[in-house]
């Protein structure tokens, strides 16, 4: 978010852009079915904003898309260094796509570090747009280039576009009352304009965005718009860019409806607000800031007019503690965090298991252990969610598969928590959280009814006929206990973390009762009704099943498509419910000769599957902080098929 430029000059109207557009016919226009673009620069260069804007233009144009923001944990890493490189990859197409793409067709490199950090991912023949102004001897030496890669022939296999982005931007803004340094900061908008021309993106949205972002500083808005238009015009006029590309809208990829682009954390936040409305309960979020979960706290804090209470606690433990207190009081209670925060919350999650109160624990997984890789993705908290507590403390686990799916997964986690009076883990990850895709906005009538009934009166008769309230007298179907909130006359009761007598809820150290309670809490979670897992096995001849969970859905599905396109038979299933597993999962697994489980960890789901179903599941693992690439996954699956 760094494209500020300060200026007092008035901005000329966009008539020039319009005229230039009419002349577009003089240049060659080619049609593509899909493109992968990566914007890369210093963490202060505004690459995330540039990527976000290009994404919005692309979404409003109607392409299918998938994004992968990738940035360092440092807010401003040392300028011009490899660790300071921030990038944003966008894949868009005229058909439905599943991943942000393996290898970029186009790299925009704002400095030598960005080139060096990303060139390895580029296939030969890809286009590279470099900001030549930044290729000074000193900047190149900083990242280990002895000779200029722009001149030493090392980029011969690529279509190199050397563009003095900084100079051109400063030149374009010379009418504005700006220092050179200030003007330079708009170079990301120049680059965005150039790319927007290359790919025929609509520009109104970005101009509107800039006007609204800098509504209080119209001069800055004008300067940024000028840089944006200058970039477009540069593409239009310079001979270096002889070709522009069209990617048609993905008209047939989407069911009819109204769509918007949405990131995982935003979808998850909306899912929580929707769950609160559908349950008719106020939403309470207790949270402590942590990457990559903080955006949910930020988003929910904006929606107080929905009755949403957000509490930024003194630490992770207080975050979940306050949420649990609110749950006791009858709120739909949520805590949001990432792996290290889950570790701190473990004892309170155990208390919630013992109290049998509804509570959502949202874990946006990141690289671990310990602080690990705060801004990178990983799926290595599955076993922590399953088992990371003292005693037998079963907790249901739900995992979204795509950014937009975070909305539905949040509603599903709330359904389980409210129906069964239990804490529930919602396991998202950094890739889903920050990545985005088109989302069909649901009609409110489609949303599930999550209303609950609080206990209102006595539920048990003692031997002498006295009517009493027993806080642990269970629903025979769900095994859920009654939710009796303070303020309800006659139902005064005490609950706690000490083992209690089944039914009455009074403290009990009786060995047989403890055995019974441990088994009952387990049976309650085991008995949660979850939909069967669906198997995608089009011709029914596959011998190999690939089983995934969470955010690997996109890459796994893309890999499976590749294999099928190449004539291979492979079946695919993807788990949303990791505890309990769907009832039919055992039968599904036994229907295949081989089960392959790709995970961004060292085989955590595979461990669970092997233990529960005695299936010789094969793990395929990657723990490098990045999502799987479809091609590499397809190759691994091919090996498994041929083996």
């Amino acid at each position: 978010m760094t494209s500020q430029v300060s200026s007092t000059a008035e901005q000329a109207d966009g008539a020039v852009v319009g005229e230039q557009r009419k002349a577009a016919g003089t240049k060659d226009v080619r049609r593509l079915d899909r493109v992968i673009i990566r914007f890369a620069g210093d963490s202060g260069d505004g690459m995330q904003l540039t990527g976000d804007r290009f994404t919005s233009e692309t979404a409003s144009f109607g392409n299918d898309l998938s994004t992968l923001p990738n940035f360092p944990a440092e807010i401003r890493a040392p300028a011009g260094t490899l660790p300071g490189v921030s990038s944003f990859q966008l894949h868009f197409a005229d058909h439905d796509i599943l991943t942000p793409g393996d290898a970029p067709n186009v790299l925009v490199a704002m400095n030598p570090a960005a080139l060096k950090a990303n060139i390895g991912d580029l296939p030969r023949g890809a286009e590279i747009i470099v900001n030549t102004d930044e290729f000074t001897k000193r900047a190149m030496q900083k990242v280990g280039y002895d000779a200029s890669p722009l001149e030493d022939g090392s980029l011969d296999g690529y279509q190199l576009h050397p563009v003095p982005l900084t100079t051109l931007t400063v030149e374009a803004l010379k009418e504005f009352d700006l220092t050179r340094k200030e003007a330079e900061r708009s170079k990301n908008m120049f680059a965005l304009g150039l790319l927007s021309w290359m790919y025929h993106r609509p520009t109104e949205g970005t101009e509107k965005f800039l006007r609204s972002k800098f509504a209080k500083k119209p001069d800055i808005a004008a300067a940024n718009i000028a840089a944006f238009r200058a970039g477009w015009n540069f593409g239009e006029t310079t001979e270096d860019f002889a070709v522009s590309y069209e990617v048609a809208p993905a008209a047939t990829a989407f069911p009819p409806g109204v769509y918007r682009n949405i990131s995982g954390n935003l979808a998850l936040s909306y899912g929580l607000v929707a769950a609160s409305r559908q349950a008719d309960l106020p939403l309470f979020l207790g949270s402590y800031p942590i990457t990559p979960a903080s955006d949910i706290l930020h988003e929910l804090s904006r929606h107080k007019n929905f009755g949403v209470r957000t509490f930024q606690a003194e630490d992770e433990i207080a975050g979940i503690g306050a949420a649990l207190g609110a749950a006791f009081g009858g709120s739909l209670a949520v805590t949001t965090t990432s792996g290290p925060g889950v570790a701190l919350k473990s004892e309170t999650i155990g208390l919630a298991v013992s109290l049998e109160l509804p509570l959502l624990i949202v874990d946006i997984q990141r690289g671990g252990p310990s602080t690990g890789l705060p801004t990178k993705t990983e799926q290595a908290d599955l076993l922590q969610a399953m088992y990371g507590r003292n005693g037998e403390a079963p907790v249901p686990v739900v995992a979204p598969r795509t950014p937009a799916d975070c909305f539905d997964a949040a509603l599903e986690a709330a359904r389980i928590a409210l129906t069964y009076r239990t804490p529930v883990f919602l396991l998202s990850d950094g890739y889903l959280a920050n990545g985005s895709e088109p989302w069909r906005i649901p009609d409110l009538e489609e949303l599930p009814d999550l209303r609950v009934r609080f206990a209102q009166g006595p539920n048990h008769a003692l031997d002498d006929g006295t009517e009493v309230f027993w806080p642990y007298k269970r629903d025979p179907q769900t095994l859920a206990r009654p939710w009796a909130i303070p303020g309800t006359p006659g139902l005064e009761h005490r609950i706690g973390g000490i083992e209690k007598q089944d039914g009455s809820g009074n403290i009990s150290y009786d060995p047989a009762n403890h055995d019974h309670m441990v088994r009952t809490r387990q049976a309650k979670v085991d008995g949660i009704e979850v939909p069967d897992v669906e198997v995608d096995d089009p011709d029914g001849t596959a011998r190999v099943l690939v089983l995934g969970w969470g955010s690997t859905y996109g890459p796994v599905t893309a890999a499976v498509r590749r294999l099928r396109a190449a004539g291979e038979s492979v079946a695919q299933a993807h788990l949303r419910h990791l505890n309990p597993f769907p009832r039919n999962l055992g039968a599904v697994l036994k229907g295949y000769d081989k089960v392959v489980i790709p995970e961004m960890n060292l085989g955590q789901l595979a461990t669970l599957i092997r233990a529960k179903y005695l299936v010789d599941a094969h793990s395929y693992n990657q723990v490098n902080g990045m999502p799987f690439k479809a091609e590499q996954l397809a190759a691994a699956l091919k090996e498994a098929i041929d083996d």
Binding site: G62, A251, K304, A318, G321, L324, A326, R440, R494
Partner: protein, 364 residues
């Protein structure tokens, strides 16, 4: 304290007349015979009918430790939670349910060791909680290790050669954490305890009440000097808002105690350092005796009072309300923000929220 009534008005009143019996649960009390906790329980159960609040709108939340069993014995709503976390849990409850009277029961280990962070943050936020901190200067439930309020050199199972760390003074700590209400009382003084509870209940925001409580098993007689009638005259300073701070047997050197209305000792401010010290009251210095002002905007004098006591002998220990000031209450502010958001943006419309941002339509 009109504000106090305003917040208490949010909690529904009991319909009929209540008695102490109404607040006793059916659970057998399981503290050691002779434990000071019994006296506090009886005082609280006896005090609750004075409040006259609907029983179902009262919640006791505790952590872990002997005193934290307290909620089981109160016939109200209650939660016996985990070690140190009661203030955090109670914060979520109080912030989301302003129609409840929320009480936290905690001990010196629970509140000041494992839960120290939650305690100070609850105090600075000024959540509408009443925190009863049972201080027995020892770990009872784990059978007798020294606590964060134990005197230096305490010989216990975990410190056979004496404890090394300096203790917290809970009142000083609370004042440093921006507490708006801080008081200290003693388990055996039912009248004083009840009066302090009454003032705490009336206070809008977090009220911290330190209760000196005897553990007759692992730290018996820890507060004997404050309880023994003769010794107490010299040791205890009873703070009364608006009254000169005097204590000790007898009056000034030339008048009887009955006439002067105060003891032979008093607290004065040192002109040079600004600190407080104890002097023998004489007709010459009688006018200089500090008049207690619990409502002073500055916590400075309250803090100085909290430092008078000798941590080893407990001589010059003030009891009563050190500080009671009005300060914005967290849960009120939170509720106000929700109201303001609705006023500014209208009541949340989920359909409009979901359809916000740039959208496009796919026609079938």
């Amino acid at each position: 304290m009109t504000d106090a009534n305003a917040l208490l008005q949010l909690v529904p009143k009991a319909e009929g007349k209540q008695s102490m019996k109404d607040f006793k649960s059916d659970q057998e009390v399981r503290w050691c015979p002779g434990c000071g906790d019994y006296a506090v329980l009886a005082a609280v159960q006896g005090f609750m009918p004075q409040l006259g609040l609907a029983r179902e709108n009262i919640v006791f939340v505790s952590g872990i430790g002997c005193s934290s069993r307290f909620p089981y014995y109160m016939n109200t709503y209650g939660m016996h939670s985990i070690h140190g976390r009661a203030p955090a849990i109670a914060t979520g409850l109080a912030a989301s349910r302003r129609d409840l009277s929320v009480w936290v029961v905690t001990g010196d280990g629970d509140a000041l060791s494992i839960g120290g962070n939650h305690l100070i943050h609850a105090l600075r936020r000024n959540v509408n909680l009443k925190i009863l901190l049972f201080n027995n200067r020892i770990y009872g439930l784990t059978k007798g290790q020294y606590s964060p309020t134990s005197e230096v050199g305490k010989i216990t199972k975990s410190t056979p050669m004496g404890s090394l760390d300096a203790p917290f003074n809970p009142v000083s700590l609370a004042l440093g954490a921006e507490a708006s209400f801080v008081a200290r009382t003693v388990d055996s003084d039912r009248k004083h305890l009840t009066e302090v509870l009454r003032q705490a209940a009336d206070h809008p925001g977090t009220a911290l009440v330190e209760i000196y409580q005897n553990c007759n098993i692992f730290n018996d007689g820890a507060f004997e000097v404050l309880k023994d009638r003769q010794q107490a005259e010299e040791a205890v300073i009873r703070l009364e808002h608006g009254e000169p701070i005097r204590f000790g047997a007898g009056g000034t050197s030339r008048s009887s105690e009955a006439e002067s209305g105060g003891g032979c000792k008093g607290v004065v401010r040192d002109r040079l350092t600004g600190d407080l010290r104890v002097v023998t009251v004489t007709p010459e210095n009688e006018a200089e005796i500090l008049v207690h002002d619990a409502h002073s905007a500055s916590p400075t004098t309250a803090f100085a009072l909290s430092r008078l006591a000798d941590p080893d002998t407990l001589h010059n220990t003030p009891i009563g309300v050190f500080r009671s000031v009005d300060r914005p209450v967290y849960d009120t502010l939170m509720a106000d923000q929700l109201d303001a958001a609705i006023e500014q943006n209208g009541k949340g419309d989920l359909g409009a929220l979901l359809a916000g941002g740039d959208t496009w339509t796919v026609v079938g």
